[in-house]
Amino acid sequence: MRAALALQGYAFDDAEIAEIVMQFSRLEAIARTVFDYPLPFASEPAPVFRP
């Protein structure tokens, strides 16, 4: 977590990092459904760019 935060330019104390870790854990718990979701290999992401 410290390395990931440093990569983004953040510098936090231990208490702040603990809070961010807790929030990330919540995200990860919900995101798990998405990682494991079976999709066809060639399925594309939703479009977000319209030229």
């Binding site: 936090f12 702040e16 807790m22 459904t33 998405v34 979701y37 992401p45 939703a46 977000v48």
Partner: protein, 471 residues
């Protein structure tokens, strides 16, 4: 209670009331009721007086009046209003320069004759389903002041629910129109993603940000929606479609096929929310179940994309001004900014998959219905919701039934239903809204179904308690 937008516009067009008189009533209602609820963060009464006087001058000169002439309204404080600082509920924005021009939809409301009376409280940066704002205070529920208004457009919903205004504007990234509309007992429209322009609206998650109206009547919702439609090259996500008026055809076509969403939408609805759906379904003659199997994974995908885009958007100021963000926002935003790209790409693939499944459902059904919130309004400060024996954090959990739908951009009209269910008389007096969900670009059908429920007396906006404010 202020009248409906259609009634006010008609009275002014016929000369039975002046716009200035309507504004005076509206100001009196705001001054009397807002101190208890904290809907407004700013009032624009001087501008309102100029706009109302201009309407009255037009009437006196015999000029044709626009469709919302003299109708007072207010906007969530993430919309640019010329001459005002756009707060988006955040202290970090308080020192910004005032907006140089109105947001596109505010300018369109002005051209339609509506009279702007102020800016409304919201969740900080629109991140969350409460309006318990660390900087600008809690917006309370007009039907029970120990409870919240929901969010993030809490001020917009509560101001209509308290009878102060016939129309307000808000935004909906994951449910921020539909959840507070449900909790405050008002009508709300989240149009199809890309339908209404977002230029001049403070962004949160570009992939999901929608804007739309709240109202105390379906006609008011339709009038304001029609006034705000149309292409806008300044918003790259705007679909650049011509205006497709909904206000002229608010009757439901015969033979409409309506599906009641089960599965995820039934599991995460408590007794009161299920009762609201039953009441709406019965009035619409709907009895067939529909299953959106991707609902759970669509919600999870929305959660990932929201975290990642929100975290990336605010990263520079999180680095510089971390202490100026509210404690409930800052750590979530930083955590979101750490989400790996592979998760986001997978989430966008899941989103496309969920959209395809929903389009399959619309081959069988014209409209889908589900509760708009899992339960009635929670108490202010309540940390968790208990839904059918399962606990979920309130701040995120209130959107459990809306997030799968906004993830795929479908139009939804939320209608206020009063199920009369709950563990206490206080809970039994509270509303739970119902989502009327259409296929893309079929806002007119959602509004027509809402109108059917309004005419049947199932969907109504009402003041509660002896003082009309839940007391």
């Amino acid at each position: 209670m202020i009248g409906s937008a259609a009634d006010i516009a008609q009275q002014i067009a016929r000369g039975t009331r002046s716009a200035t008189a309507v504004l005076a009533q509206c100001k009196a209602l705001i001054e009397a009721r807002d101190p208890d609820l904290n809907c407004f963060t700013a009032k624009t009464f001087q501008r309102a007086e100029r706009e109302a006087a201009a309407i009255d001058d037009s009437y006196a000169e015999g000029k044709p009046l626009p469709p919302l002439a003299g109708v007072p309204y207010a906007v969530k404080n993430l919309f640019d209003v010329e001459g005002m600082v756009t707060l988006a509920g955040a202290k970090i924005n308080a020192g910004n320069s005032p907006a140089a021009a109105d947001a596109t939809i505010v300018a369109r409301m002005r051209r339609a004759g509506a009279v702007l009376v102020g800016a409304l409280n919201m969740e900080e940066l629109a991140y969350g389903f409460l309006t318990e704002n660390h900087h600008y205070g809690v917006t309370r529920n007009p039907h029970d002041r120990t409870r919240g208004a929901g969010g993030s457009s809490g001020g917009s919903a509560a101001a209509v629910g308290a009878g102060m205004l016939p129309i307000t504007l808000g935004s909906d990234t994951s449910g921020s129109i539909r959840v507070p509309a449900s909790l405050c007992g008002v009508f709300g429209l989240k149009p199809t993603y890309g339908r209404l322009p977002r230029s001049g609206a403070y962004p949160f998650v570009n992939s999901f940000d929608h804007v739309g109206p709240f109202a105390n009547s379906v006609a008011g919702l339709a009038l304001s929606y029609d006034a705000m439609q149309g292409p806008d090259p300044a918003d790259p996500a705007c679909a650049q479609r011509d205006v497709e008026p909904a206000g002229m055809a608010l009757s439901l076509p015969r033979g409409i096929r309506i599906g009641i969403l089960g599965g995820w939408f039934h599991e995460w609805a408590d007794t009161a929310a299920r009762r609201s759906v039953q009441l709406a379904a019965a009035a619409l003659g709907a009895n067939e179940r529909a299953e959106f199997k991707s609902a759970e994974v669509a919600r999870a995908a929305a959660y990932i994309i929201t975290g990642a885009e929100g975290g990336a958007l605010h990263r520079p100021r999180l680095i510089e001004q971390y202490a100026d963000f509210g404690p409930a926002s800052r750590s979530r935003l930083v955590a979101g900014g750490l989400i790996p790209a592979s998760w986001v790409i997978q989430a966008q693939r899941v989103r496309q998959h969920a959209y395809a499944e929903a389009m399959g459902l619309f081959e069988r059904f014209d409209l889908l219905i589900a509760a708009a919130a899992p339960a009635v309004a929670p108490r202010v400060g309540q940390e968790t919701l208990l839904i059918n024996g399962r606990s979920i954090p309130t701040k995120a959990g209130l959107g459990v039934l809306t997030q799968p739908i906004s993830c795929i951009g479908l139009p939804v009209c939320t209608v206020p239903v009063w199920p009369g269910e709950g563990d206490s008389p206080a809970e039994q007096a509270l509303p739970v809204g119902v989502q009327l969900i259409g296929a893309p670009w079929r806002e007119g059908l959602c509004l027509a179904a809402a109108r059917t429920l309004e005419q049947a007396g199932i969907a109504t906006v009402k003041l509660t308690g002896s003082d009309g404010l839940g007391r």
